[in-house]
């Protein structure tokens, strides 16, 4: 596929317009005469045009079965293949000019790398939308194929709207369901409430440049006049930054719309520059619900969703603004629970003694301010009421209390929620499963108060939206418990995921019934496989019992997994122990946090191991569920993988056993095998 033809002049002009303007500027400044400037500009333009024509001719993208291939580059050529499964976000943006000439920029994000992995500039808007949809369609299709030909019907049922009737390649476009559309009133609110404190700083910085100029106009400085100017200046600053913030927010969120299509969220927004993009719900790392005192008073909040696709420094354009700019607080929580069902949080606060710490801190700030005021007073030799800031001391206890009051964390069933900040309060929800590492820090000052901060680090954008979820200033013992609890719960979540995934892999060891995903049978076969002890996967904590014990369920190769008789019913069928989790099954799966649990996204994962070869899969893609795999997974399962393929090919199970036995000592070989597998 080619780019849109209009992109040639646009790109050329975009690149050299600065140069051209500079040329004209130079020409007028140096008296070269306009013809020189025009000539030079024409030459530059021609060169840029030629380059862009070459770029256009070279640039080619193609949607293959598994990857999006982009070949580009005039001087150094680059061929890039991006597997659909790895694509996290597909964003389309069009600014005013691009809209006028009918082109759109498409950006594809994967989790890796520091920049946008696939950037297609520019295609027609229709093509951009097609790309967006097509990538998602093919993503689901690859997933379904990876899941084998058995039953594709289960795919996406958890999300309700996903294509419910298709199989194989002909995956239908999932039904798009509107979640949120901004109303004019809300848009006005976004503008009115999006007061950005940082703008004040910036403006103050800019304005400070004009102070010497202004002071020239001021007559002999009297105290009252100076104070008045300061107050008026400050007021103006606030007003201007507010107006700027309002305008920016208004143009950003004009026509905001959030919808859900299958397993991804889609959004559209923008007045001058139109953005649209997709966020795969399964790649969500963190949800942030933020508000400020004004929003709280009016009962509104903001939701932002972080995925791993956006590298730090580029999230500002799409990532952090990809969610709901403003909505009634209840609505925001409902929307957030649609994405990650974290239940009703009940935050626990830091110890009350910590209020003293904040009190001291603020008192120190007030003292500092007073000191500065005194210095100014002394410097300008006026009789200013420099002790004015001391009045702030009265507010210090209140401020300390508020600061304390708005901190907190809550350990939900599947999520950690943290809350911080009074002026800009952020509630962050992190699924345990997404935790990358847990960091416990204690500064010198914190140690004095015997408190610590626990940070749950995720692969999200991090710095952009204000950092990771952190439980700040909790008692040291509590912090230690929290830290250990978080790592444990991560392990639990992993075990649970694995348990969900693996029964299906073992479905056919002694039972060739491929398309059945009945739980009873799964566990049954699982159990049998376990007693056969054919491979480490079996011992891997497949049945629900193991999901309650955290760490040790991971991979003891030798653990015989015939320990689940607690559930053996009269008919001798072992049923999964759903009671082991605290999930509420009383409600329909769609409205509860199924967390992919109650509804199996990929009941046909079981087929992968064998059907892999049919699809030309190397079993590598075959194994992963919706989230894809990482290397470790592939590695550790390699042996098993072969084992299963072996079964499929009619080779004895003993092969698999050997494989596993070798596994422990033959890591290096294993590695090599993996490489060659790839």
């Amino acid at each position: 596929m080619k780019l849109a033809v209009q992109s040639i002049p646009y790109r050329a002009l975009q690149k050299v317009s600065g140069v051209v303007i500079l040329l004209f500027f130079l020409a007028t400044a140096n008296d070269w005469g306009t013809h020189v400037a025009v000539g030079a500009s024409a030459a530059v333009l021609a060169a840029a045009g030629a380059y862009e024509v070459a770029y256009y001719r070279r640039f080619d993208y193609e949607l293959t079965a598994d990857t999006l291939d982009i070949s580009s580059g005039v001087i150094s050529r680059r061929e890039r293949e991006i597997p659909y499964r790895r694509i996290q976000n597909v964003d389309v943006s069009r600014n005013v000019i691009q809209r006028a000439i009918g082109i759109a920029a498409v950006d594809l994000e994967t989790a890796g790398g520091s920049s946008t992995e696939g950037s297609i500039r520019y295609v027609t808007p229709a093509e951009a939308t097609r790309l967006q949809r097509e990538v998602q369609r093919r993503k689901s299709a690859t997933k379904a194929r990876a899941g084998g030909t058995g039953s594709a019907t289960g795919v996406g049922t958890a999300t309700g709207a996903a294509g419910d009737a298709s199989d194989g390649d002909d995956f239908a476009e999932p039904v798009e369901e509107d979640l949120f559309a901004i109303s004019p009133g809300e848009l006005a609110l976004v503008g009115a409430l999006s007061f950005d404190g940082r703008l004040i700083g910036l403006l103050a910085f800019v304005a400070s440049g004009s102070v010497p100029v202004l002071s020239g106009f001021l007559p002999a400085s009297s105290a009252a006049l100076l104070t008045a100017t300061a107050v008026v200046g400050l007021g103006l600053l606030v007003l201007v930054s507010w107006v700027i913030g309002a305008v920016v927010a208004f143009s950003n969120y004009y026509g905001f719309r959030l919808s859900r299509a299958g397993d991804e969220l889609r959004y559209e927004r923008g007045l001058f520059r139109r953005y649209s993009g997709s966020i795969p719900t399964e790649k969500v790392q963190t949800l942030t619900i933020s508000d400020n005192p004004a929003k709280r008073a009016l009962g509104y909040a903001t939701l932002s969703i972080e995925t791993a696709g956006y590298a730090p420094g580029q999230g500002g354009d799409y990532g952090s603004q990809a969610a709901v700019p403003i909505a009634a607080t209840d609505r925001v929580y409902d929307l957030a629970r649609e994405v990650e069902a974290f239940g009703d949080p009940e935050f626990s606060r830091p110890p009350t003694r910590i209020r003293w710490r904040y009190g001291f801190r603020y008192a120190m700030v007030v003292t500092l301010l007073t000191g500065i005021a005194f210095a100014i007073d002394w410097w300008v030799a006026a009789t200013l009421p420099w002790y004015g800031p001391l009045a702030l001391l009265l507010v210090v206890p209140l401020a300390a209390h508020l600061k304390w009051k708005h901190r907190g964390y809550w350990l939900g069933e599947n999520h950690l929620l943290t809350r911080n900040g009074f002026w800009s309060r952020q509630v962050k929800a992190v699924p345990y499963y997404r935790i990358q590492n847990v960091i416990d820090t204690r500064t010198v000052f914190q140690r004095r108060w015997r408190v610590a901060t626990v940070v749950a680090d995720t692969a999200g954008t991090g710095s952009i939206v204000g950092g990771d979820a952190a439980a700040v200033d909790f008692d040291v013992t509590e912090a230690v418990t929290l830290r250990e609890e978080l790592t444990d719960r991560l392990q639990d979540a992993l075990v649970e995921r694995r348990a969900r995934r693996e029964p299906f892999e073992w479905l056919d060891v002694d039972d060739t019934d491929t398309d059945d995903t009945d739980d009873e049978e799964d566990t049954d076969t699982d159990e049998e496989a376990g007693t056969n002890d054919t491979s480490e996967t079996t011992a891997d904590g497949v049945d629900a019992d193991d999901s309650t014990t955290s760490g040790d369920a991971e991979l003891d190769e030798t653990e015989p997994d015939d320990t689940g008789p607690g559930d053996t019913a009269a008919d001798g069928v072992v049923r999964p122990e759903f009671g082991a989790t605290d999930r509420d099954y009383s409600q329909p799966a769609e409205t509860v946090d199924t967390g992919d649990y109650a509804v199996d996204h990929h009941p046909s994962d079981a087929d992968v191991a064998y059907k892999g070869d049919e699809n030309g899969d190397d079993g590598l893609d075959g194994f992963d569920d919706d989230d894809g795999e990482d290397e470790a997974e592939v590695d550790s399962e390699n042996g098993v993988d072969d084992g299963e393929n072996g079964v499929d090919d009619g080779i004895d199970i003993a092969d698999a056993e050997d494989d596993v036995d070798d596994d422990t000592e033959g890591d290096a070989e294993d590695d090599e095998k993996r490489r060659s597998d790839r």
Binding site: V438, R483, L555
Partner: protein, 154 residues
Amino acid sequence: MTTLRLHPRVRLVWALRAALLAAFLTLPLAAGAYFGYLPEWVPIVAGAALLAVGVGHALLRYRRWSYEIREDALYLDRGVVTQVRTAVPLVRIQHVDSRRGPVERGVGLASCVVYTAGSRGADVRIPGLTPERADDLREELKRLAIRADGEDAV
């Protein structure tokens, strides 16, 4: 597993680094004294103070540093002014490096860097290992990470 300590010689690396930093910071002062803007004792005192602080920090840092490989995670405990305890779940390890900087090579040490997909603790470094130990640690962590069967990094 028991808590593991760094090789004592790492103090030398850190002390050297502190000395370099102290020298760097005193350079302008020394220049000032050389050109007669400052009395001569200023750079000496400042340099000595910086060096003392740096070396003290290095010693305390060594005393504080420990790491531990437990069954499901790698635990690090470090930091003098701000104490930091990090738990890196083995499933989250993306890749592991062992590396040797010039100073480390000078004193015959190496370090091991563990990468995760996180945003803040994207890489944690265990310094002060003998080269063999660093390689062993790398291999061990690799093995454990593989065994831990992380299915999905992000």
